[in-house]
């Protein structure tokens, strides 16, 4: 057992030396998490606030001005221009200067004064579906609240008691992320993607390289056992993956105010299991890939696609096509994203997330076992 320890130690030290000599790779491993974090949190924001808005007020009465000013006052819409012609909307949308246009037709003020139903048009630029959906939702909510106010004013004036009318008034609250801040939502998922990228890619290449160099053959005839080599190869990347997780969590807390509501202990266990899943995947690629180039590309696909697109990190899995959703069940990333968000944002732990952890564990065992099997079969032709 002591000898096994020495042999594994020799592999671990060698792996760190390779990394230390490969400055480009070292940079990727150490800086990638920070870059991804900044990129996702600042550049790619799913928050929709301050939607540039064009106002076409053809009524020009006190009532229409009051109605239009409610948009600017809401904070969701920025009035970027005024025009009197509906035709201006097309030009402004085409230039991308505005993505929402509010058209108040002539006669609006008159109808309000006569207690008739006034009509307005809200036009939304649908070429950015996400922004359009949210813009439309805000506009609908704003108009509902305005017309409710108008109803209350009218009933009060007519002498009715609104409180006794059974008027339905929903109060909406967003739990876990009350400000709907998208970086808070993204960071827990980002941790998962970064672990996948750092580990899958590297382990995918590692055994293929040793085979090309002839060093695998050299180790094959030495007392070094297959499992010792695997452990020695996996340990450094497990450590590095955890270092990256720590960097993201600390940065997320300090810079973005990421809460940790659940059990860090549970998260650590789950992350360790997920790291093994990823390493297993990488080793499977390494055992099957005919060349370093193939291993690299498959490793890239095997980490980026499941990490970003099939994990629910950026897009809710409920809204992706059924085929992709079906594929996403095959990759461990989606279970880990659920765990990560649950722990950070919802304060969840063993009781709520054990099914995900169980799935991850099964995945890890199968992946590593399959990798060892495939590697053995490949070497003893």
């Amino acid at each position: 057992m002591r000898a096994a320890g020495i042999r594994i130690g020799a592999i671990v030290r060698k792996e760190f030396r390779h990394l230390w000599r490969d400055r480009r790779l070292l940079g990727i491993v150490l800086l990638l998490p920070i870059m991804q974090l900044l990129l996702f949190s600042y550049a790619i924001s799913f928050d929709v606030k301050h939607i540039p808005t064009l106002v076409v007020d053809q009524d020009r009465t006190a009532a229409s001005r009051a109605y239009v000013s409610a948009y600017a006052a809401s904070g969701f819409f920025d009035v970027v221009g005024q025009d009197s012609q509906t035709s201006a909307v097309d030009t402004v949308f085409a230039r991308g200067d505005a993505s929402v246009a509010v058209v108040v037709p002539a006669g609006f003020g008159q109808r309000v004064a006569q207690d008739l139903t006034p009509q307005v048009a809200v036009l939304v630029d649908g070429s950015d579906p996400n922004a359009a959906r949210i813009g439309a939702a805000y506009a609908t909510a704003l108009n509902a609240s305005l017309s409710q106010k108008a109803t209350v004013t009218w009933t009060t004036r007519e002498g009715y008691d609104v409180a006794r009318s059974g008027f339905l008034e929903p109060r909406m609250r967003t739990w876990y992320n009350p400000d709907r801040n998208s970086s808070i939502f993204l960071i827990p998922g980002l941790i998962v993607a970064i672990i996948a990228i750092v580990t899958v890619q590297q382990t995918a290449v590692t055994l293929v390289r040793e085979r090309d160099l002839g060093t695998r053959e050299q180790m094959l005839v030495s007392p070094l056992r297959g499992w010792e080599l695997m452990v020695g190869k996996l340990l450094p990347w497990t450590l590095l993956a955890f270092a990256d997780i720590a960097v993201i969590v600390v940065l997320g807390q300090v810079v973005f105010g990421l809460p940790i509501r659940g059990s860090l202990w549970f998260l650590t266990v789950a992350a360790a299991v997920f790291v093994f899943c990823s390493l297993g995947m990488g080793l499977i690629i390494s055992a099957v890939a005919p060349s370093i180039e193939v291993a690299n590309i498959v490793g890239l696909l095997g980490s980026f696609l499941p990490g970003f697109l099939l994990s629910g990190l950026a897009f809710p899995l409920a809204s992706v096509p059924w085929l992709l959703r079906a594929i996403s069940y095959l990759f461990p990333a989606r279970y880990m994203v659920t765990i990560s968000r649950g722990v950070f944002l919802k304060g969840a732990g063993w009781a709520e997330l054990w099914p995900q952890l169980a799935l991850l564990s099964a995945y890890a065992v199968i992946a590593v076992a399959l990798a060892v099997l495939l590697a053995k079969r490949r070497e003893r032709v």
């Binding site: 060698k14 030396r17 490969d22 002839g214 053959e217 050299q218 005839v221 007392p223 070094l224 003893r380």
Partner: protein
């Protein structure tokens, strides 16, 4: 004298192709055993079976008194292996490569200090331990690879085409190192396709298409071939090989 390697009808097939076709050989300890033959004749496959890297399909192989099929783990610490690829990490320094292989054989710190000093001197690399292996000349890499393969002082060393791609001067120096090892009692099992290296060996076996077509001492094989061909002078190794192969083909 005890036996280092004993092969009995050893066979390996890859699909329909018979790479090693039931060869039988006996290599006594302390020999410099030359395993000769053209590329693809089954030399490397035989070595891979002898080191336990490849399982035979038939026959048996005993190495240092152990059956390699069942007790490869007992054999591995006592054998060394050097391939034509040299198996060095080019992005690691000279001493880091040695440290790594010392670790793989679980040498103690004292053993490492002792062995690495010897290897560095033997390989003519004294004072260059912090140099990147990738920057060394082919001849130096070759000697470093030999050093790495002998860090754990094996009783039996397999060398698979160790001199290919090295200039004649470096090749000569390399053989001097092999003789030094042989004098210390290490059995050497060397494959080569350079016929002039055959006369460096104390015993030879010729491989052709998976079969051993001749074995014995270099002089013995030369004399016998000369007699068979009715020559007045002893033929060169090159001639011996050509005539042996021609006989096989007809």
């Amino acid at each position: 004298m005890s036996v280092a390697v004993e092969l009995n009808a050893l066979t390996k097939r890859f699909g329909d192709f018979v790479a090693v076709d039931g060869i039988s050989l006996s290599v006594p300890r302390g020999e410099v055993f030359g395993f000769l033959g053209p590329n693809g004749s089954g030399k490397t496959t035989t070595i891979r079976m002898l080191t336990g890297a490849l399982a035979p399909d038939g026959g048996s192989a005993w190495v240092l008194g152990e059956d390699i099929a069942t007790h490869a783990d007992r054999v591995r610490p006592r054998i060394g292996y050097m391939s034509q690829k040299f198996s060095l990490f080019e992005d690691l320094t000279v001493s880091e490569n040695l440290t790594f292989y010392a670790g793989v054989y679980a040498l103690s710190d004292a053993e490492y200090a002792d062995r690495s000093a010897y290897v560095m001197e033997m390989a003519d690399l004294t004072g260059r331990d912090r140099e990147l292996t990738g920057n060394l000349s082919t001849g130096l890499k070759q000697r470093l690879a030999l050093g790495a393969a002998t860090m754990h002082e094996p009783d039996l060393l397999f060398l698979d085409e160790p001199t290919s791609g090295v200039d004649p001067v470096a090749r000569r120096r390399f053989w001097d190192l092999l003789y030094e090892l042989a004098e210390r009692g290490v059995t050497l099992f060397v494959t080569t396709h350079y016929m002039e290296e055959a006369s460096n060996c104390s015993r030879l076996a010729f491989m052709y298409r998976g079969r051993v077509i001749a074995d014995g001492t270099p002089r013995g094989i030369q004399a016998e071939t000369g007699r068979r061909l009715g020559l007045a002078t002893t033929p060169s190794m090159e001639d011996v090989f050509v005539s042996l192969v021609t006989e096989q083909r007809t």
